[in-house]
Symmetry: C2
Subunit: 754 residues, 2 copies
């Protein structure tokens, strides 16, 4: 019975294509009220007065709730995974445009929306800061004092720190960077920037809370139900088992639906009015919830004349917006790979998570890695140009290899960096002649490669129940948002227990039912939960064997489970229950940011791009996108390939078009009409290559893959544009306008408005 390694359609595909799959948006409970949110119109201000009188009087409005009402229920109504900084509804201050200030509740959502229109608020406007580097100056303070959550021991020292917008500063020091730079033949420095953009899951944020009798149930489109349960219980001062978090099908997450989004709000509202409450956001409102960090990355390298990088210093400022969310972890966990997949003896990293008066930023498919790769792989290309080396040859010379220490000091293991790079180069036919175009249409090609660690240490628990007829149910808290995790686990269970994966029933995330899981994020699930599932299946297998022995069946013979159960229990009765908890080993970084074991596995991904640039308009057409990643031994190759292509398409949007535009703190393009995500016509031919290696501690040799397809896309395209037309774009997105401006500047005839 070979289950693992075969192309297998996703288990839920039928339910989804026939429209039977249930999403939180479908849910209506008896007596349910709809909440609509009144939001701040100023980026930074002290709340003087909220006038809810007219809304309250509107026929059909059940109640209008402000932050002060919530405070009566929850004295400290602040939440967040890293800092308890985010109020359920604004209190005293508002810190970004779109921040929730009040909620109107009504049985009819249209009435609630009308009620919102009748609310007005008066603010004492305060000066605001939007830029992550400017925010280093403490003249404008987004938060007066820092309130670390206590979740992460390493943030505790920040408690009560004030007078700063630095939510977290992470520093790594390896070797002697200054000394090495002094000795280098070339010292090359650049600054790159990325924009604010967002997840755009096609299912907008939605949560429902049912106050129940002695238990609060939350139905929500969320990637981390266990976290929601713990955090809601903490807010109310309850035990975990008084909160139930159920996650129906989720229509995409990409890190946006992590931690608390609407859950604390609907929970507080439901407890206040003692009726079920639903809040479902519009597409426009998504621009005010959570985004991808804008960054400024100053990178400096010292290189020998034969092309060895001997020193690199990195300074990254992360624009976390008004509330920290998981931003501090992004700044820190991505921080230590900021120097890239290269073997460099002297590295320094300074990474700063900054508060600003923007929509908060959190995790978005890679925990900050694409921002770093954008910078270091553009930089790598520029170094190769400067020292006159082929960029492929230059990378080859410097690539980090297994057995060598990564910047953190952890010895690299099971990371197929050279193999992935080799696959890319081969697919790109790097050494073959390349048609460079002619006339106004010029062609170029670029390449990029990157490395990512997984967030650590985190825990996953799995439970497997074998029924008396041998049929199997798996309980896992992983949230399948479309990535195929249910199917992958079913394949693992099938492999261990010798049954077809399609016969394994996977029970969806429900904290009353499925055991703890840290969250479905950062490509951790398949490795962590996959291992837990494998171990739980092995536990169940062992217990089934023990049952056969108890039943007096001779060892070594293979009895169908139904026979074992019948023999032991006198009828078709009983269960075997296998359980396992998986926590990989890990060493926390020391004061220098160094660790001997910083991640249980490494992700490796790279991209190659061929582009055509219209030198008259600046328009960039991607002719071909090649994506390669180390997936260990793939469990379900068909789905693994779609993970790579999906990631590439997503990053393509962030590369060429997506950007939230801000004007005085106001988002000026908060709609999908103005914020351009890739359409079918924008998508080039994408080739995905699974580079098969072996992740020795992974389940059946596999590893996480949900993000690796994003890594190299942006710099590969920028490098290809440079190759085509000789201009370097230093900031995302690479719009036609940006390219045209660069072309004109290079020609010495800047566009009129410059």
């Amino acid at each position: 019975m070979n289950q693992v390694g075969r192309d297998f359609p996703r288990l839920e595909v039928r339910a989804k294509v026939t429209g039977r799959a249930e999403y939180t948006h479908h849910l209506r409970l008896p007596g349910m009220l709809y909440g609509k949110v009144f939001r701040s119109t100023v980026p930074h201000g002290r709340i003087l007065h909220i006038d809810t009188e007219a809304a309250r009087k509107l026929p059909g409005v059940h109640r209008v709730i402000t932050g002060e009402d919530i405070k009566k229920l929850i004295p400290e109504p602040y939440y967040g995974p890293a800092f308890h900084d985010q109020p359920i509804l604004a209190l005293e201050k508002v810190r970004h445009v779109g921040e929730p200030v009040a909620v109107v509740l009504a049985s009819d959502p249209h009435v609630a929306e009308q009620g919102v229109q009748l609310i007005s608020a008066e603010y004492e406007e305060l000066p605001a800061v939007y830029d992550e580097v400017q925010a280093m100056k403490p003249d404008i303070l987004v938060h007066e004092v820092l309130k670390p959550a206590g979740t992460f021991a390493d943030l505790k020292h920040l408690k009560d720190r004030g007078g700063t917008n630095v939510a977290l500063d992470y520093h790594l020091r390896r070797g002697d960077v200054d000394g090495a730079l002094a000795k280098a033949d070339h010292v090359i420095e650049h600054t790159f920037k990325t924009q604010q953009c967002l997840h755009v899951a096609f299912e907008p944020f939605v949560s429902v809370a049912d106050p129940g009798d002695s238990k609060l149930t939350i139905y929500t489109a969320n990637q981390s139900p266990s976290f929601v349960r713990i955090e809601i219980a903490r807010l109310f001062g309850w035990p975990e088992n008084r909160v139930r978090v159920k996650v129906p099908y989720v229509g995409g997450g990409f890190g946006g639906k992590l931690y608390i989004k609407l859950e604390a709000l609907v929970a507080a509202l439901a407890m206040l009015v003692r009726r079920p409450v639903k809040i479902a956001l519009t597409m426009e409102e998504q621009f005010y919830v959570i985004t991808k960090h804008p960054t400024t990355f100053r990178i400096k390298s010292g290189v020998t004349k034969d092309g060895r990088i001997i020193a690199r210093s990195c300074e990254v400022h992360w624009n976390g917006g008004a509330y920290a969310d998981i931003g501090p972890r992004v700044a820190q966990k991505s921080g230590f790979t900021a120097a890239g997949p290269y073997d460099i003896d002297n590295v320094s990293v300074d990474s700063y998570e900054m508060y600003t008066n923007r929509t908060p930023a959190g995790a978005l498919r890679c925990f900050g890695i694409p921002q770093l790769v954008w910078a270091y792989e553009s930089h790598t290309d520029l170094i190769a140009r400067e020292i006159g080396m082929d960029p492929v040859e230059f990378r080859h010379k410097n690539l980090l290899r297994n057995g060598r220490p990564q910047a953190s000091g952890t010895i690299l293991k099971d990371a197929a960096i050279p193999e992935v790079f080799q696959a890319l180069v081969k697919r790109m036919n790097w050494d073959a002649p390349f048609d460079r175009g002619a006339g106004i249409l010029r062609r170029g090609r670029g390449i990029a490669i990157a490395l990512k660690a997984v967030i650590s240490p985190t825990t996953s628990v799995a439970v497997i129940n074998i029924s008396a007829d041998g049929s199997i149910t798996l309980f896992t808290g992983s949230v399948d948002m479309g990535q195929g995790s249910d199917t992958a686990y079913a394949l693992i269970v099938g492999e261990v227990l010798g049954v077809p994966a399609e016969d394994v029933r996977v029970v969806h995330s429900d904290t009353d039912v499925t055991p703890y899981d840290m969250g479905t994020l950062g490509s951790r699930s398949f490795y962590h939960m996959g291992n837990a599932v494998r171990l739980a299946a092995e536990d169940a297998r062992g217990k089934l064997r023990a049952l056969a022995t108890e039943a007096g069946l001779p060892e070594g013979t293979n009895y169908p489970p139904v026979e074992i159960f019948k023999k032991r229990y006198g009828m078709q009765a009983g269960n075997v229950i296998g359980t396992a908890t998986f926590l990989p080993t890990y060493s926390p970084p020391d004061a220098q940011g160094l660790s001997s074991n910083v991640t249980p596995f490494w992700m490796v991904g790279g991209a190659g791009a061929e582009v055509e640039v219209d030198t008259e308009t600046g328009h960039v057409r991607v002719l071909r996108l090649v994506n390669a990643a180390d997936c260990g031994k793939p469990i379900n190759p068909a789905v693994a390939r779609t993970q790579l292509s999906g990631a590439a398409i997503m990053q393509l949007g962030f590369t060429l078009s997506e950007a939230m535009h801000l004007d005085g703190g106001q988002v000026t393009n908060a709609s999908l009409a103005d914020y351009k995500i890739p359409g079918m016509a924008d998508i080039p031919p994408i080739e995905c290559e699974l580079v098969t290696a072996e992740q020795h501690n992974g389940p059946f040799g596999a590893k996480g893959l949900g993000e690796s397809g994003t890594f190299g896309v942006s710099p590969a395209i920028a490098n290809a544009i440079h190759d085509a037309v000789g201009v370097r774009i230093m900031e995302l997105p690479i719009t036609a306008e940006a390219v045209l401006r660069a072309l004109r500047a290079k020609e010495g005839r800047p566009l009129d408005d410059e």
Copy 2:
């Protein structure tokens, strides 16, 4: 932390009294159809034609389904726990009045009901048999051939047996009954009868089936969800994990909601029409689903002149109605205690489960025991009278004591027979003067005691999840129908894990979530599941300790769980999952019906009654009812007492008023207006005494108690009537008419119609 043994309010009490508790009757699913049942009007007949044309044409009717439609979906659509004899809808024959013949489906239940009125059926009427003794003659056959389910190995030999209405015959032979009878000073024989009556749970039968995408979900008021899952899977030829059975709150069961009732029907309908289907019966329809066995019990005893019973032969005919349901188990499992709680060396038992053309009979709060006790404790009293001994003294002399073999040969253990009897006698002030009334109102008193075994072998599985903050969730398939099982288990978990029971969350029966349990029946749950819960809690406690060791916390110190989890997992994360399966030891009976280990525990219960009889009308007023039972060490004494009083009230109805009246196979009193259950005004002062003993293999020394309160009620009242007015009633119920007839007959002036 002493949890076990304290008076503890039931966990769900608040939800129930505030009306928040959700029952299956409340459930409405999108697109749901209501089914209404067209039923047979003849007791026995061959189906010639079912005319559904007019019903089909009724606007609003979605579809009309007959047995033939179901056969297209399920080729062998017969179900049942002991025999696969019951068709989902009648096929070829109908076997009792009220048997489901067709179902009308409509979005509006009133339209469906109207549709039912438009259906007509034509039958070739067959002669019918209603009496359990007459059914021994094979001239009228209810079933042409027997189809044992295979669930119980000991029924397999019945396969393909035909030409009989005997569904099961059970025989026990111990010692030499004939020889002992020949030597006895007195040989006394009586025949007692009981009536057909029913459970009357205040929540009528209701089930909903949702065909889902790749899984069928059944929401049902049912006491045995694991059985339903297995049986529905068998009918469709599916694995167990394709069927999900969810049991919301249940409004009383009493054995009526065991096994399959409406579940197969709604499942088949939902699969046929691919929409959710609900069937909710009216109170009247309950008379056609499941009842308590009418019985005829011929009992003969040989007694020495000094009052020792040396031989007893018992012949019991059980009227199982048209379909076996669990009747064969009633006939067999109750059979071996038919001789009562007495120490008798020579015993024979012949117990016959009979098919007749009545509504089927199954389990009703005691699996047949009250029918037996009615006979043997009336008989015991009559013997004492005949030999001129005080009935208390006579019983004392013959009571079975621990260490002595019960009729089955199993040595009695942990059965507090003398203690319960002593407690009763004391409460009744048996030796004190007693006011015997005067004039037309005469008073008397009676006593009765009985023994019951538990159905065996059966299995229960429990799972316990400790969250990272130490809060606890228990997963159990026991169905809490009001008996307080959730609360009892919470007390056990609290005791083992050192937390208040009110903090333990109990997850309700849901076969996708809660592990296997054989069923909530026959007072088995507290013993079996209670043991499983205790073992699972101990497993969890051990794993929590192991986790503390893994976390490097020194042994022997008591850390709060949240500290252990935080230390081990770096944050508030993870779970500990404890599991246990409980299956007591058991020896199946041999060819003589004997076994060295026939039950893991014994139930002992008795009653004393003081009555006043109006000799002019025959009206019996119960002045006082004393109930005593061996409850081991009670886990929750307050709830244990309500179990005893509830059982006594139920049996009071069966004793004095409840009876289904049949006329040519038609039930003539199928409504609660004509079928009289006890009202508040009918209930005498009831004293309940928990006789504390110790069930050594029970959870914390406790045992099941849900039935013991019924045992002695009927004969204690009959004995008291005899004591008051000198007449003996041989058949239940003891109506005023029956008493008056007996009084008149005794006076030689029978009522006019006799």
